[in-house]
Amino acid sequence: MKTLMTILCASLAGSAAFADNHCAAGKTLTDGVLTIATGNPAYYPWVMDDAPESKQGFEAAVAYAVANEMGFADDAVTWVRTSFDEAIQPGAKNFDFNLQQYSITPEREETVDFSLPYYSSAMAVLTTQSVAEKVGEPTIEVLKGLLWGAGASHTGATMVGQVIAPDQDVLLYNDNTDVTAALQANQIDAALFDLPTALYLSAVVVENGALLGQFPAERSENPDQFGMLMADGSALKPCVDEAIQALTDSGKLAEIEAEWLQGATGVPVIQ
């Protein structure tokens, strides 16, 4: 009983001290703890080795930077895992915010809240060496003649239709693995991904993978921007936005991006 009282007092004192200084006080799921969600599993280069606690990987690093900016120490951060669909379903959330490359769209904002973007991505064309050799100079005209694929839940799926408008029906897949399987089985010639994913897939997953080029963010109608996903009407949103704004202004975000997504250079821009 005595020990219980001690713990109780200690935690009360702790949260009280925290409440004095911080925007997020009393707004998180668990007082004094920031619960962050990511994908299951989470991939390179977003999270290294599926271990966000290590702070290795772009999103892991961003998450800790934002947490620190919001006044949470590293050990006050806990991680949970969710699927993509789970997170945009209506209802209560088991996380304070969720980052797994959610593109911010007005339609999604009907159902959930997004923070300010922590990353703006160009879209890149993933293909194989043999197709890349055949295509040569990538122009929209040439790209129209290719057989296209994309992940069904990515914004790439709609962007292929809008920006390229290929001659043949686009084939869509459940996840990146299936897209790459189709690419390798020669069922599709090319697929559209955000640049970091495309880099990873061409380097690690697709045998003889190649990047045909990239569409700069301003080229697409909705440049793909990743935001942290929160429950609709989350009280925490202003605190997260404030933190991201501060990190953007200080150049810290660009620094993290350069560290983890440096491979994003050297891919030709498609005119």
């Binding site: 999604r108 009907e110 029906d169 084939l171 869509l172 020669n186």
Partner: protein, 279 residues
């Protein structure tokens, strides 16, 4: 002599009693059905998450924007269905006949048919679609022979033909031995006995069961989306990502039901007709 005999227009005691019973059960059924509907209409909107669910699943704006696109995508479902169904019927029939082959020289066919039905009835459809739809094109077939439309369809055909074969086989088993005795006694060959006497009756007997498989096939066509084709289920998924709304799935469900409910009713109708014939 009773009153009823003298005046046939007067219902008898039994008829009067049964009419009263019918009126009573109609009344009870009507009241209880209305109560249940009322409870749903009143209670569901009271649920704390109703507003959020309504916005996500029953969003009229999203519905009207996506429904035409869904209908368009459903044409692909119908196309896939219409080239799969006849091939399933043929393969199913072939396998069913192979399973009853007696000739020792053709034993490999029989063995093949048995293993085939065991394997493909034992596997989830989606697994077969993945394995066949990605696996076989992965062997390095040239275009257009590596098309997911071809191999995805083949996966559906393989699985459904296994079920159809079993249904037809049970139909063959349901034909009384005396029918084949009669045919054989006339000097007909085994093959002719099967073709002209047993199969026509067997197929007629299993028509309702096969209609149920047809309904199931119509739904499972959506699984082809896993290997690429953008049919209605996938199109709904794309809209879901685009609008962060589950309403397109509701739209797809409505389109599916518009097709499958009449089909199911028809299958039931056939089933009842058969049952009446057997009595």
């Amino acid at each position: 002599m009773t009153k009823a005999d003298e005046n046939p227009a007067m219902p008898g005691r039994r008829a009067q009693y049964e009419a009263a019973l019918r009126r009573r059960s109609l009344w009870v059924a009507g009241v209880s059905t209305s109560l249940v509907f009322l409870a749903i209409l009143v209670l569901v909107p009271l649920a704390p998450g109703w507003e959020a669910v309504k916005k996500s699943f029953f969003n009229w704006g999203v519905f009207s924007k996506t429904f035409p696109g869904l209908l368009d995508a459903f044409l692909l479902d119908i196309a896939i269905f219409s080239w799969c169904a006849p091939l399933i019927a043929l393969l199913g029939l072939f396998v069913a006949i192979c399973r009853d082959i007696q000739k020792p020289a053709l034993y490999p066919l029989r063995l093949f048919a048995t293993v085939y039905t065991d394997v493909f009835r034992g596997l989830p459809v989606i697994l077969v679609i993945y394995l066949v739809g990605f696996g076989i094109p992965g062997l390095g077939l040239p275009r257009p022979w590596n098309s997911p439309y071809i191999w995805g369809s083949l996966a559906l055909i393989l699985v459904y033909a296994a079920y159809v074969a079993e249904v037809i086989r049970s139909g063959i088993g349901s034909i009384h031995k005396s029918q084949s005795s009669a045919a054989l006694s006339l000097g007909l060959s085994n093959a002719d006995t099967m073709r002209y006497v047993i199969l026509p009756q067997a197929l007629r007997n299993v028509l309702p069961a096969n209609m149920n498989l047809v309904v199931a096939l119509q739904k499972d066509v959506a699984l082809l989306s896993f290997v690429g084709p953008v049919e209605i289920f996938r199109q709904a998924g794309v809209y879901k990502s685009l609008y962060a709304s589950f309403t397109p799935y509701v739209g797809a469900a409505i389109i599916f039901l518009a097709i499958t409910i009449p089909m199911t009713r028809f299958a039931d109708h056939l089933m009842n007709k058969r049952r009446k014939q057997e009595q």
